[in-house]
Symmetry: C2
Subunit: 236 residues, 2 copies
DNA sequence: TCGAATTTAATGTGATCACAAACTTTCAAT
DNA sequence: ATTGAAAGTTTGTGATCACATTAAATTCGA
């Protein structure tokens, strides 16, 4: 309950499913907190600090840190300090380019495997996104939006690219939250509706266009945020 | 020295640099062994087995396994057994597509940052590859070839994509060895020479073409190997 | 002789501990 | 008051251990 000594970090707590062990729980919890921007860039993280905050031994936290580090979600400095990476304009640009490159490819390669149940699932998620928009629930909007993309791409059972894409999402973490919260709400659903329509028509080109537009909408909305550059390179 | 009980695994030993700790050493060693195809797909790996073979405690091996698992280099079965993943034709095809997609992008985005010293480094590596070809040293050929690509892409200081590419290399691991060993030797150098020429001319299109051709040469050589399909999906 | 149930061995997990490196604080000397 | 070193604290690392789960071996029954 009490925060760690050196850093008073506030973590969004998650229920621990009965099936998952401590390792997985800690990893998922930290991952979710990074994805929704709960922990700020530049914040130093300590193994014992997080372990204490979570009421577990340092071991699962160590493993989670190492996993997150190899996904680029956290950065291990040469002082062996772990911090949430600082975003730079160049990194941001590169991450967006890669999202478009990988996600349009993923969508296209998933298209031949799309069946009716998949479309039903996607429409269901889209409905939940609509609900989250109504409620103004930013966390759910962000997570459900990722669910939509992941579900689409995962229709291809031989998909290799999804973990790579999730790594990009993790690195964009704090900013996707800003993007979603500021986004003109109607656009999200529109792009998803466009994508679903393309799926029904088996229209590869339209699908790519919808996915790319969806991502570009997010980027545009980030750039439109007043004072967004305070989030780049600056210390928190 | 003695092999583990359940699996008699033979590992290519690596010198442990004074600077790196046990974690890093074990990870690098396992990674290198996977990259050059020393451990066969389908082979079950155990923490205690590897730890015993390396003369370390199970702890660093555990962390290395988890890191390699999140890079897709090893697979954690639901029986919590760790194995080297089996290759399938579909996975192989998808991995090759992604290599071309990501590496041509990486090369193109690195092009503006290429300076003369970079070209000197690349020509130096290319010379070493030539030596390895003369000696028939397959391990060096494989590792130096990766060095060439990594050095090229890393000229861009804001490169995000290199870890993603290395994840693909890891998953292709055992097969890149087959590719290199069977490859008509002259082609490797030719494609690299083409790439270097494109760099000198700042010719983006020619660079992409050279990189894609280099990768496709590897794929073609794999497909030309007699009985290559014994390596797919079959147990070793 | 073959198959199912029980026993035995092996494995992953997670906590605790000792140690070394790095950071912080303290305190004295200039 | 400022700088420097030294003592103390914090942190990551890696080994050892106890425990629950799972695979393997053995035994018993048909």
């Amino acid at each position: 309950m009490q925060a760690s000594k050196s850093t008073n970090l506030e973590l969004l707590m998650l229920e621990r499913a009965a099936s998952q062990n401590t390792n997985q729980w800690v990893y998922q919890l930290l991952r979710t907190n990074l994805l929704c921007g709960k922990v700020q860039p530049g914040l130093p993280l300590t193994i014992r600090g997080v372990a204490e905050a979570l009421g577990v031994s340092p071991m699962p936290v160590r493993e989670a840190f190492h996993r997150l580090a190899c996904e680029g979600a956290v950065e291990v400095k040469n002082n062996r300090r772990v911090i949430v990476p600082i975003m730079t304009a160049e990194k941001f640009s590169e991450l967006c380019d890669l999202r478009i490159l990988l996600e349009t490819h993923a969508a296209q390669s998933a298209l031949p495997y799309i069946r009716d149940p998949d479309i039903v699932s996607l429409e269901l998620i889209d409905g939940k996104i609509d609900e989250a928009v109504q409620e103004g629930n930013v966390e759910n909007m962000s997570l459900l939006n990722q669910d939509f993309h992941r579900t689409l791409y995962s229709a291809n059972p031989f998909q290799i690219v999804v973990p790579l894409i999730e790594s990009l999402w993790l690195q964009l973490g704090p900013f996707s939250r800003i993007a979603i919260s500021k986004l003109e709400k109607i656009y999200i659903v529109d792009r998803h509706v466009e994508a679903i329509a393309a799926l029904k028509q088996q229209n590869s080109f339209a699908l790519r266009r919808a996915i790319e537009a969806d991502i570009r909408d997010g980027i545009a909305s980030i750039n439109s945020v007043e004072g967004i550059h305070n989030y780049f390179e600056g210390v928190a």
